[in-house]
């Protein structure tokens, strides 16, 4: 009798669980239709170009929900779905962001380099007699890096198993599409390549840079910043002297300053990457670097660097690429120290 009651109770319990699971699944489908749609139709990219005509209508629908500032996609919890929506959209700025997502997520999910490195260091610290406070500090920092890696792996989970060749193909296809596109980003990439290969019109290139900087699109502006890298003053220094300053770094900081951004508000993907790869971890307590990773030799050139940032910010406000190319460090700041 007791056995019979128990069996009936278990059957009833199982039925309740199944019904609850079915209800939860139905509710989830209704609540997040975009995510489900995006994550189910992503395949390895075709060798030659974008989506076919029959997929285009579906792609436009999937692209709904791309924020005006495409960089906000980097904050999403499901980066594979964000990648899919960006890739299937008709927006070159979203394609640039899709490349960035694939680059980081493809690397993190296909390579255990950073996990191995963090675990090895934790093992070393646990087996040494180093000064306790220093060891504790580094262990705390390593646990932050490990947590950031776990968070990144969770957000990038959809990329797991796709493999490195898939990632590289996806990035290559998106880069080609972006380069061939019309609009500010496409023009910057096209004219930069032409000038670098000696077939371009310098004036046209400068106008393309200026249009991208002056546009309201952050991604287009950043594309212009990157395209200017090869003509900044440090590119003309011999390789041995180039570590002292990072003209492109100063220009990037100036760009953030002019557009009201800050290193503290980096999108989640970049914030997590910096912690995992570079060791600069940002949380509610501020930024920690870990005891073994300090600021570079640039700390000695702080004032010179700040002056560079100010000079670049001025050039960006005037939207004058040519004046940006002429910026040089003002050595007298060095000599005053």
């Amino acid at each position: 009798m007791r056995l019979g009651s128990a069996v009936r109770f278990r059957t009833l319990l199982a039925a309740v669980v199944v019904l609850a699971a079915a209800f939860a699944g139905w509710h989830f489908l209704l609540a997040a239709p975009g995510q489900i749609r995006a994550s189910t139709h992503i395949e390895a990219p075709e060798a030659g170009g974008g989506p076919g005509p029959e997929r285009r209508a579906e792609s436009v629908a999937a692209a709904e929900g791309i924020p005006t500032d495409a960089r906000k996609l980097l904050d999403e919890q499901n980066l594979f779905a964000a990648f899919g929506r960006a890739r299937d959209s008709q927006r070159p700025d979203a394609w640039v962001i899709a490349c960035q997502i694939a680059d980081v997520c493809g690397g993190v999910t296909n390579d255990s380099l950073y996990r191995n490195e963090i675990d090895r260091r934790i093992g070393e610290l646990n087996s040494t007699n180093a000064m306790a406070p220093e060891r504790e500090e580094e262990l705390r920092h390593l646990s932050k890096r490990k947590a950031a890696l776990a968070e990144l792996e969770r957000r990038c989970a959809g990329f797991r198993g796709l493999g490195r060749p898939w990632t590289l193909n996806a990035i290559r296809e998106l880069e080609t599409r972006t380069k061939q596109s019309e609009g500010d980003i496409g023009r910057v990439l096209q004219t930069t390549e032409l000038v670098e290969n000696g077939r371009g019109d310098y004036g046209q290139w400068v106008r393309a840079l200026s249009a991208a900087i002056g546009s309201r699109n952050t991604v287009a502006g950043e594309a212009a910043i990157m395209a200017m890298a090869a003509s900044l003053f440090d590119q003309r220094l011999p390789p041995g002297e180039r570590t002292r300053v990072s003209a492109l770094g100063a220009l990037t900081e100036a760009w953030w300053q002019v557009t009201g951004q800050s290193g503290q508000d980096l999108p989640a993907l970049e914030r997590l990457s910096l912690c995992v790869v570079g060791g600069s971890c940002i949380d509610k307590d501020g930024v920690t670097y870990g005891s073994s990773v300090g600021r570079t030799d640039l700390a000695n050139d702080e004032r010179e660097y700040e002056d560079l940032v100010a000079q670049y910010a001025e050039g960006l406000r005037r939207n004058d690429p040519e004046s940006i190319f002429k910026v040089q460090p003002r050595r007298r700041i060095d000599s005053k120290k």
Binding site: A102, D103, G107, I171, G198, Y202, W205, P239, T252, V277
Partner: protein, 177 residues
């Protein structure tokens, strides 16, 4: 007289090319890495080799390299492969003020330069300009400087980095006989 003019024109064109494209110090590099594979036919293998080598260089000297830098890697068999560093693989760390590179190899393959010697002779050949009547073009001037030496003993790779001297518009007027 016409031949003399053509020779002078060709000579002037040669000087312009030498100033804008040369010198090529990479040809004097002595240490090379042992690798195998057909570069021209197998871009993938070429890319893989360069990535395997250069990713570790990037992580040890992150601030030396920046997005859009162009590098050449010279291999044991005399092949020189040219790459550029992609912006997609770089994140700027505003706290330490260095560029960080993601684990996906940030190299973009550009081309295989047959050998340094052949490339130099190709660029300096005045015959290359013959047939061009009057034209102007913007060239990205600069030179290849030796950058890093990686490894020791038998397996050593040297990279050269493109040091830019800026874009210049070159006007040419060459009469070919």
């Amino acid at each position: 007289m016409r031949k003399l003019l053509a020779a002078i024109s060709a000579f002037v064109a040669t000087i312009v090319l030498a100033a804008t494209y040369g010198p090529f110090p990479i040809s004097s590099f002595a240490l090379r890495q042992q690798v195998s594979g057909n570069y021209a036919a197998d871009e993938g293998a070429n890319f893989g080799l360069a990535s395997a080598y250069f990713t570790s260089v990037l992580q040890t000297m992150p601030n030396r390299y920046k997005p859009s830098d162009r590098i050449r890697i010279l291999y044991n068999d005399g092949v020189v492969a040219e790459f550029s560093l992609k912006a997609a693989g770089a994140i700027y760390d505003p706290f330490r003020r260095v560029w960080m590179w993601s684990p996906t190899p940030p190299l973009e393959f550009k081309k295989v330069v047959k050998t340094a010697q052949e490339q130099a002779s190709y660029d300096l050949d005045p015959a290359w300009y013959c047939g061009t009547t009057s034209s102007s073009m913007t060239v990205w001037t600069g030179y290849w400087g030796q950058d890093t030496v990686f490894g020791s003993g038998g397996a050593v790779t040297i990279t050269a980095m493109w040091i830019s001297t800026g874009p210049v518009t070159v006007y040419t007027k060459v009469q070919c006989v």
